[in-house]
Symmetry: D2
Subunit: 341 residues, 4 copies
């Protein structure tokens, strides 16, 4: 049994991660922590917890964690994960970080997109970007796994094989994405009040979202050259799920829709959590919610020659906690779908 700790278990991703770990056959939860000063029964943030489970979410205690946990999941706010992650790495623990603190390789991007200087730039080089299906080999040996952002996961999975095989142009890449409200976390802000969201839909952080450099890093690596994307996120009146509608162009006029689809099937045909839709079918949030799937659909418009690729994930699972468990499974040699199927 692997001894796991979840740091920051009271938020949406922390609670979802705890739910998954509870049903994982190879895992023992040693700690669930909170920044609050008093212990909280797990059942308060995770009402579905089985009756026998008496876990508490307790104040953070580094020494106790160091003694009992083999690995830690960080579900901490951006910038806080930086320091905590470094500490546990120094203590020889495997760290899977669900924040953005170790996702970007170029430390100079942090001041621009996150408004902070990175405290441990050397860790950025060490970190393995945990996009499971793409980086599986590196993940197996990683000490620090940086779990991908919710928005980057779907578009990166869809576009990386197409850029690598030079089936699409590296420019333009236009990503129109829409997310459920749980992506915004639990902090109290007007924009996530029921009366603001219900019946509403709008773009936000237009051309300014912090996931832009992360997606660009992924696509640039695949394209072998710098890729600059247009990315517009929208807020949906739903609890969970992200659907991205992506507009790109085939590399040549001879590229067919079927060729694109087959490239994706080749890339992911054996992976348990990526499904490529047959011709004429497209992803829906309802098909992926409460699952760790990433669904991908493809349409090449004969009229305009433009390629539309649509991806869907559950932002709390494949876009956060599900992928984190998948990373743990890969890292520790468990079946990739353990605790997830």
């Amino acid at each position: 049994m692997l001894n796991c700790a979840v740091l920051g278990a009271t938020g949406y991703t922390g609670a979802e991660l705890t739910r998954l770990l509870l049903s994982h056959p190879d895992v023992r939860i040693t700690h669930l922590t909170t920044r609050q000063e008093k212990p909280i029964p797990l059942s308060e943030v995770l009402p579905s917890v089985p009756r026998g489970v008496q876990l508490q979410i307790t104040p953070y205690d580094f020494e106790d964690l160091r003694k009992k946990a083999d690995m830690v999941f960080l579900c901490l706010p951006h910038t806080e994960a930086m320091t905590t992650g470094d500490l546990f790495l120094q203590a020889g623990k495997v760290v899977i970080d669900l924040s953005a603190d170790f996702r970007l390789k170029d430390a100079t991007l942090y001041p621009k997109w996150y408004g902070i200087d990175h405290a441990f730039p050397a860790r950025l080089r060490q970190a393995v970007y945990g996009l499971c299906e793409v980086n599986r080999k590196k993940i197996r040996k990683a000490e620090l796994i940086s779990n991908p952002g919710c928005y980057p996961t779907g578009p990166s999975l869809a576009l990386i094989p197409l850029l690598e095989k030079k089936l699409i142009k590296h420019d333009p890449v236009i990503i129109n994405a829409a997310s459920g409200v749980s992506g915004a976390g639990k902090k109290l802000v007007t924009s996530t009040q029921f009366c603001e969201v219900d019946g509403n839909y709008n773009a936000y952080k237009v051309n300014k979202h912090q996931h832009i450099p992360e997606i660009e890093q992924n696509l640039s690596l695949a394209a072998g050259r710098e890729v600059a994307i247009t990315f517009i996120p929208h807020l949906l009146p739903v609890y969970r799920g992200i659907l991205a509608t992506i507009y790109v162009e085939p590399a040549k006029k001879t590229v067919t829709e079927d060729e694109v689809r087959r490239a994706l099937v080749t890339a992911y045909g054996k992976d348990p959590f990526v499904r490529v839709k047959p011709a004429g079918q497209f992803p829906s949030l309802k098909d992926v919610r409460n699952t760790n799937f990433c669904d991908i659909g493809v349409s090449l418009d004969a009229r305009t020659g433009r390629l539309v690729i649509i991806t869907a994930i559950d932002n709390l699972l494949k876009g956060a906690s599900g992928q984190a468990v998948q990373n743990m499974n890969i890292r520790f040699g468990f079946p990739e779908g353990a605790g997830l199927i």
Copy 2:
């Protein structure tokens, strides 16, 4: 008082139109009709009808309509409006048609996009496309006004002035649109069942939506050359509203965001129902629902040089019945906002 009839008053647009006409100071409703065989009290389809109003929705009776109505609104299914519209035009009535039957100038597009041959191609030339702010002069003298489709309204209002002033390229024009469920009408289909829609979001009719040629016709006219667009509609889990996120490119590198915004303000600054958002602000469905407004926001991304334009309308008002009343107001010399503000 203008004597108006609404043909097809039991659907969402028919009921919304009736609601508007009831509060219009210059209008008397002479008929509300249905294809059903028995009369239906208006209050059954429009529960908000004031207590004194005793209107019935009655079976269609051409002779009686001909005698008492000065003008007719057609809220009929596509293809049915074609014949009925012709009949009332022959009888010397003004016709405002909310279907697509008179929207396209090129009759050969009907077989391709609507699966039918057009029965009265000559009427297509006669018809004035009722995009109020753009065609106001022609609408004043029109006998047959073809009310714009719900999806085309916002993007056309936003892009026409920019194409006319050559501020944007005519290609690419990518429109990512999302609509509330009322846009699908009242027919019973699985895809509009609550359990299918709630918590869901997906693209549909990918690269195949029948509003594509209508938008292209509008933009081609403005550009002075043929425009081919990419248009992907999505279904939102909301009752009403359409938000379109549009990706285009400035005509030259020297074009500024402010220049684009000012062009829109110049075009619509005095219009009661088009609002151009200030820099950094963008439309939301909640700002336009239950109104006849079309809101437009603009962002030019310095990193990619790409222009994002966002429009929002209420699909049942500015996207259907509201614009129909606005067209009537223009046609008959009433204040443009009568019954709408």
Copy 3:
């Protein structure tokens, strides 16, 4: 033209009230106030405001209000309305208070249910309870109108005539009510976050809601004896609307369902905003949302002899701002439906 001021125009009821007053033919808005220090454009809290309207919501200025306003609407938090109301009454203004501060006749109930001592108990005697259809005569001459609470409005309208005519027993009276989220106001609390409310439904303030004494006061007056009710409010995942399902018993075995319905029709048959449903039909939120209607349905169960009465209103209209305008109309001799139909 009547010069009206709205104190506290940034909340849901304040904004809704402003919307109604803007379309009222006999009213001029002199002030919209806020406790914030800087002016706010009205369009920020009321996006549907017509383009020409340039109103600002400005910091409260008693002297200016005193000079220009004939009457004031108080959309202030409980306890704050007490003092402000007294001040404007001293200045000779008509006050319509939408808070609970003047609703209860018995000052000793305030410490128990609202946690405060009442600062001006004499004003409680002066205040006319603004349940329009019941107290119309008194409202015509009132200086201080206390607008009813959202939950009390429907059940009071339904039960008062039945108690007065002794058609039902005064005990038991069980009211199971469910409200949309706008009833909770705009303050940031976890329980009104989208992710808490969406897909959820639950009872709250079980046996503790502050509207209990208000309903009991109304029913006791009608019954001519003290009535103690059971009242359980629930939170619905909807924006607006309250539906109350009420369980009572006929006074005698000989009372028929039809007799009960006719008593309600007799009481409200000529009122513009109360609709009694025919046998076998019952109210729905969708029938009353965005209207000032109160719908009432009746079912007498032959098996158990128990009477079920269902009422529905829009909590922001008949349950708050709509009824406030109706009160103003009655007080100042305007048509009762002015600005509301």
Copy 4:
């Protein structure tokens, strides 16, 4: 491994049941059937099915079922289950029926509440009512288990121990219940269209719901005398979940809230799926959705002496498929929570 068949796997309960059985460690699915003529891939009705699973939903074939299945779950429409159930019982199979066809002991109730004569009244005596926590012993030996209705489950679990211990009066029993839309099944009707349900809430089948005799049968048995209830169901704009707010009276004035709560804890303290809330806390749909829990809360109002009991379940799990699996677990000696936790 137990060989199980699901008859009627395309509906909401059938799909949910299949999902549970797929993850059950002791079960092999032999058949998923449909009344349609062509096979349907399971993934079409259950998008979350793991990638390796290649199950098809196939046309009903009695002979093949008889050979391969040890037991059958009937997710068939009312009246159809009657005949099919009898057939499999004759063939010596264990039958768990999720319809109402074997729930009522008194055959004369079927014409009144279901509009049909019962074809196999003898089977009614044979059937064990599968309210797991109450009938566990009988379920262990049952050949025909009649799975409880969605509405009856929560109120029956809450009231049976209180009636048995004579803590509450058998009259009045008033149940105000609210259900998510999945309870209405997949058939296409106007009342479950998104635009009808979204933002709406209303009572339906007032005093006429077919679950009334089922609840009365359960409560009468517990009370040792005939119980007549008032039951009003409402439709919530949510996908899944039922919350029932129950109004009863303590048997004596000396009964305390704590006594009532302790009676429930005594009855269910060791059961994995019934949770009694501590004083001052009440069930929410969000606490039980996607779980097999039944949560129960209690409040005794000191002012009126009335007792309010609130229950919540997920209608598709504890209210249908979850309880069906729990019944299977009890019947075949598997751990009661297998496949459910």
